[in-house]
């Protein structure tokens, strides 16, 4: 097969870029453990009171790691405020008791869809003290724009 010299150049560039992009994603996924927020964990959304989400809130796992179990509902989150010291890593485990919501902390990589029946998880290390707003970016009803919670990071 005869290929023009320029065709060889752009094919090499295109295939090379694709290999590079996939290699970066592969290293991030397999060496650094980055993965999407869906962990295939499920829960009975009709009976959350019989599950670990009966008492949502913050648990300290070790010195600087916390687990936040949060229930999203129309139109808010339970609990609506959590407080952690700066430098803490929080593992968020979030589920919905009714419709599809989202759990988004603007300015961070925490941005996941919350679907009833599933527990979506992500983690974030809060290095800067301050008040972080959590919002729902998945339209969930007439009060969607009021849906929020706060994360207070103390110095």
């Amino acid at each position: 097969m005869h290929l023009h010299k320029y065709e060889k150049i752009w094919l090499t560039f295109g295939i090379g870029s694709l290999v590079l992009f996939l290699a970066v994603l592969g290293v991030a996924a397999f060496a650094f453990g980055q993965q999407p927020p869906s962990h295939m964990a499920s829960v009975d959304s009709q009976n959350l009171e019989d599950t670990v989400f009966a008492e949502p809130g913050l648990d300290q796992i070790n010195e600087d790691t916390y687990r936040a179990r949060i229930v999203a509902l129309t139109y808010g989150y339970s609990p609506d405020t959590i407080e952690i010291p700066a430098g803490s890593t929080v593992i968020f485990e979030v589920t919905s008791q009714d419709v599809v919501h989202s759990f988004t902390i603007p300015g961070t990589n925490v941005n996941m869809m919350i679907t009833p029946g599933h527990v979506n998880m992500t983690e974030h290390t809060f290095t800067e003290p301050g008040e972080y707003l959590v919002i729902c970016n998945e339209y969930c009803g007439t009060g969607h724009h009021y849906m929020q919670m706060k994360i207070e990071v103390t110095p």
Partner: protein
């Protein structure tokens, strides 16, 4: 004289067929490719600094 003219025309026709340049295509393909390449790393950089 007329023979000479005919020869020149034939020569020109052959020259035009040979002149199939892909330079413009290369420039545009590399332009689009560079845009995709830079955008990809810009988005990946955003992901890294927000971690």
């Amino acid at each position: 004289m007329s023979r000479t003219v005919l020869k020149t025309q034939q020569h020109q026709q052959l020259k035009q067929e040979d002149h199939s340049s892909l330079k413009g295509t290369l420039v545009f393909v590399m332009f689009v490719g560079a845009f995709i390449f830079v955008s990809w790393f810009a988005v990946f950089y955003l992901f890294l600094i927000r971690t």
